[in-house]
Symmetry: C2
Amino acid sequence: MVQYDKILIFKRMIGIFDSGVGGLTVVREMLAQLPEYELVYFGDTARTPYGTKSKETIIKYAIEDTNFLLSQGAKLIIVACNTASALASEDLKKKFPNIPIFEVVMPAVKQALGATKNKRVGVIGTYATIGSGLYEKLLKNNNPEIEVYQAPCPLFVPLVEEGWLKNPETKRIAKKYLHPLRLKKIDTLILGCTHYPLLKPVIQPKIGRRVKLVDSAEAVVGEVKKFLAENTEVEKTLVKGKNHRFFVSDMTPRFGAIAEKWLGRRVVVKKAEV
Amino acid sequence: MVQYDKILIFKRMIGIFDSGVGGLTVVREMLAQLPEYELVYFGDTARTPYGTKSKETIIKYAIEDTNFLLSQGAKLIIVACNTASALASEDLKKKFPNIPIFEVVMPAVKQALGATKNKRVGVIGTYATIGSGLYEKLLKNNNPEIEVYQAPCPLFVPLVEEGWLKNPETKRIAKKYLHPLRLKKIDTLILGCTHYPLLKPVIQPKIGRRVKLVDSAEAVVGEVKKFLAENTEVEKTLVKGKNHRFFVSDMTPRFGAIAEKWLGRRVVVKKAEV
């Protein structure tokens, strides 16, 4: 069971969770756009990836991850995992009605709706995210004229985790996945997985230079920024500082190595039971 | 908690577990070499893959997986996962001293020792398996003259699960992983992951036609066959039949689809809590 740390009871911070390392792209955006706030991150590396698992299992894991972050002093939660956002964020909001919960799907949908001119939007993500049909539903609910073209790209996550960000193999796989979307003449592509922003330099040329890439990490941090500006009573309770803490459910050397590479700073990682 | 099914108390069968679908290659070998015995399979799809996780976590999961199979009537266990075999089989044998437990590492090591002529043996597997150094240790303990060359191939598992068994992308990635081993002039290659036998048609040409591929699924079933021939008091208690049962910790449509494709028969999959 999670142990509540008494020292932390009066500290209130922004909590971020993901199935593993992918949500670190949201941390990176936080450090860029909102560098003053102290963060607590949880990566569920013992059960990663979520993208191939069922809705029921993903909801269970997301609730456990949120409970862990709350036990560590989080007062605002960012679900930095598209799979958990797509399948579990409604349940999380019901389960934790007093906690502001941000997820990465709706901010990306809004950006895509604002960006598209020809009303042809592509979405890429894991099997679970694409299979949920959530992006398509939200896009069409907001604008029934939008045509949505989706493609699961399950190898992108292991390629990113392997660090093969610009390899010829990665380029070939990207071409294979993206070619059908290119034929559909989309003008906007939602990167529906927090790992994918790291592949932008490969994705952009394969989908075409004129296609706008919507990065959900960037989009959700924009929403959090707006929320904090409008809700000063929440904002002023948040701890400012740089003592960001990183927890994982399974300790492997790769998490720390990837985190330091992506964030460009030293990262101390601790193991947590959820 | 696992519920003991009273009907099963008097049935004794062969239990097989893996982190997910990979162990189905062992099921396939069982159906080929020992088709008379009834099997119960458990794939830990809620927590797959094991290959990127720590030793401590893998031991915990392997014990839970074994307990589940015992609750279903298994009286003989095959650890059909190289990662769990490499990191957890000693602990399993201590924890369950009265159950014959077979693992996939030692049978493959024995085959490789018998096959190599030039004493240059390659091993491929997940990060966890290669990082454990177990294959190298066992090969050298048995013959200190053997030179061992290892390479982690972490993308092979997602490629197999994606069904990309003969794609040009898979061929390129195989070439990249295997080229350093080819330069070492190995004459024997241990496929140290139960997914890899499905990539034999890609691996063989990339490593060289004259290199002997050691398939751990084939090797472990050979050991079980030998054990049953020598231990008739165990053999005669085992149920014969074709009502093989398949359980997973997370229900997704992909497990059943892959199982039917690999095994070439109809497969009914049930969800189990471990």
